[in-house]
């Protein structure tokens, strides 16, 4: 690996912690980002010459602090401080700093930085964009591409979001246990948003957006390393790893959706699955069930099934039932109905979701799933109606194409039925 590639990786991985610590120090996002940028420029000059520092994050924090202070002084006095090449004992200072920066400071710093991006006034997409820009350090261009908008529009969006969060008061004292738990919950939700933004990508820009999944997993691992005993953080990390493991099998060569049951499971990323399963085990030892853990346990049951027909639908139904209890939502019930249809048949599943018709009237998946149950029951006219509604609500051309496939099958069935009226519909 070349020097530059190494430095690039080191800076990228040190960025969240360094920015977070500089933010605590300067209490201002712009100053922290500028100080970090300056420190990076110096790293590019200094590291190839003097070799990599033992702890890149600590180096960047120390140098960032110096240049930040330097900038503030220069504004006042027009004098400069010596640059870091002339600081004779940088290595010693660095060592000392590493010792002083104990992990409890680090972890609250990072949590605060992530939490700042989750301002409740910001729409989800802006939270994600802000986190990707500030915490992950993705360029505006990269983020714009991921969201399929122009660079200027994204720049404006991020600037506005930043102005909004800068005005908000965020406590810089060490948070209490309750506040810390609340921040963790909010931050987990934001990380999962980043993941889903990547996971739901199809068609144009899908590859760039797919990278958001990797970024979300990186952030979750970072969080987990600092909050080692939080079962929900383990569950979230596991959930994302298990879902992301299926990425290579989720679309066919034409970019069409391949349903879980029809995916080529040999394409699943086994390393991600193993890590996900290990984390599910770790989380469940705590016996503090939470929504991410339950979802990760469901994903784990899919991952464990070597063939689609090996899936333990009974257990999945039980887990969805638990999820329904702690986090009731019509979408969770809809998902449970899929497990119910496998265990008790389409009629039971249909009865379960009929009461949701009003709440989910505008939800693509509701009509798709409902149509599938009707089709299994041979109620083709109703199936066709449900599928038509699903197509009208499809979020992507791929989703619409998938439903159209069902409609084509219905069409073929009815043609066959007309041409040979004695033959009953086969299901």
């Amino acid at each position: 690996m070349t020097d530059i590639a190494w430095i690039d990786t080191a800076i990228t991985s040190a960025r969240p912690q360094a920015i977070a610590a500089l933010l605590r120090y300067f209490r201002d996002l712009d100053t922290a980002e500028e100080a970090f940028q300056d420190a990076c420029l110096r790293a590019l000059k200094n590291w190839p010459k003097n070799g990599p520092p033992r702890d890149p994050a600590a180096w960047l924090i120390l140098v960032g602090r110096n240049v930040g202070l330097d900038g503030a002084r220069r504004k006042r006095k027009q004098t400069t401080l010596p640059d870091e090449d002339q600081l004779s004992d940088l290595e010693d200072v660095e060592t000392e700093l590493v010792d002083r920066l104990d992990s409890s400071d680090y972890r609250d710093d990072l949590l605060r930085l992530l939490f700042i991006c989750c301002h409740p006034d910001l729409p989800n997409t802006q939270q994600i964009a802000l986190a990707l820009r500030i915490v992950s350090g993705l360029s505006v261009k990269q983020i714009a591409r991921a969201f399929l908008v122009g660079e200027a529009a994204m720049e404006q969006r991020i600037t506005r979001a930043k102005a909004r969060v800068t005005k908000a008061e965020v406590a810089f004292e060490t948070p209490g246990a309750a506040e810390r738990a609340a921040r963790l919950t909010t931050v987990c939700a934001m990380i999962y948003l980043v993941f889903n933004e990547g996971y739901s990508a199809t068609g144009e820009g899908a590859e760039e957006r797919g990278q958001l999944c990797d970024e979300a997993i990186r952030l979750a691992r970072l969080l987990l390393r600092l909050f080692q005993s939080e079962p929900e953080v383990m569950g979230l990390t596991a959930l994302m790893l298990l879902q992301h493991s299926r990425m290579p099998a989720r679309f066919d060569a034409n970019g069409s959706i391949v349903l879980l049951e029809e995916q080529d499971r040999s394409l699943w990323n086994q390393q991600m699955i193993n890590e996900g399963l290990a984390l599910v085990d770790k989380a469940f030892r705590h016996r503090q069930i939470g929504p991410y853990q339950l979802q990760s346990a469901i994903a784990a049951l899919h991952a464990r099934a070597k063939k689609a027909e090996d899936t333990d639908w009974h257990e999945i139904e039980v887990l969805y039932g638990m999820l329904e209890q702690i986090q009731p939502s019509p979408v969770v019930t809809l998902n449970r109905s899929v497990a119910v249809s496998k265990v008790h048949g389409p009629q039971a599943a249909l009865e379960l979701i009929e009461p949701l018709a009003d709440q989910l009237a505008g939800y693509f998946h509701f009509h798709g799933v409902r149509g599938a149950y009707f089709m299994q029951l041979g109620r083709n006219a109703e199936a066709r109606e449900a599928f038509d509604r699903a197509i009208a609500l499809a979020n992507t051309p791929q989703e619409a194409a998938h439903i159209r496939m069902h409609l084509d099958r219905l069409q073929k069935d009815s043609e066959e039925a007309t041409s040979s009226p004695k033959k009953s519909t086969r299901h």
Partner: protein
């Protein structure tokens, strides 16, 4: 004499490698591994999962299970086992069994492997 060569690096950095970078490094390492295998010198080789997947059993009057990797600096790495286990609970039971046989203190870090190459035929 058998030597263990233990690999240390920042997992942030290694975990941040792109797939191409990772493949390139592993490819070069595979060449060395093949040479060592051909020379009949290579024992088992493993890559560990990230430390976030680790659990630690601290030995004591009551064994204590702690999330995360072994993080004390007063103690040193003295040895390791590679054991097939159904799940984490099974692995912890195995570690407890070892702890009963050697209850003189210390800890066992239980870390799943992400890659395992069994030993080649050794001279």
């Amino acid at each position: 004499m058998l030597y263990a060569i233990l690999c240390y690096h920042s997992e942030d950095v290694v975990g941040g490698w792109s797939k191409e970078q990772d493949d390139a490094v592993l490819g070069r390492l595979a060449t060395v591994r093949k040479k060592l295998t051909d020379e009949g010198r290579l024992g088992p080789v493993a890559r560990l999962m990230p430390t976030t997947a680790a659990t630690t059993l601290r030995k004591g009057r009551e064994h204590l299970v702690i999330d995360g990797p072994f993080a004390e600096t007063k103690e040193q790495l003295l040895g390791f086992y590679v054991v097939e286990c159904r799940d984490l609970e099974h692995a912890l039971d195995t570690a407890r069994e070892l702890a009963r046989a050697n209850d003189t203190g210390g800890s066992y870090e239980i870390r799943p492997l992400s890659v395992y190459h069994p030993p080649g035929p050794m001279k």
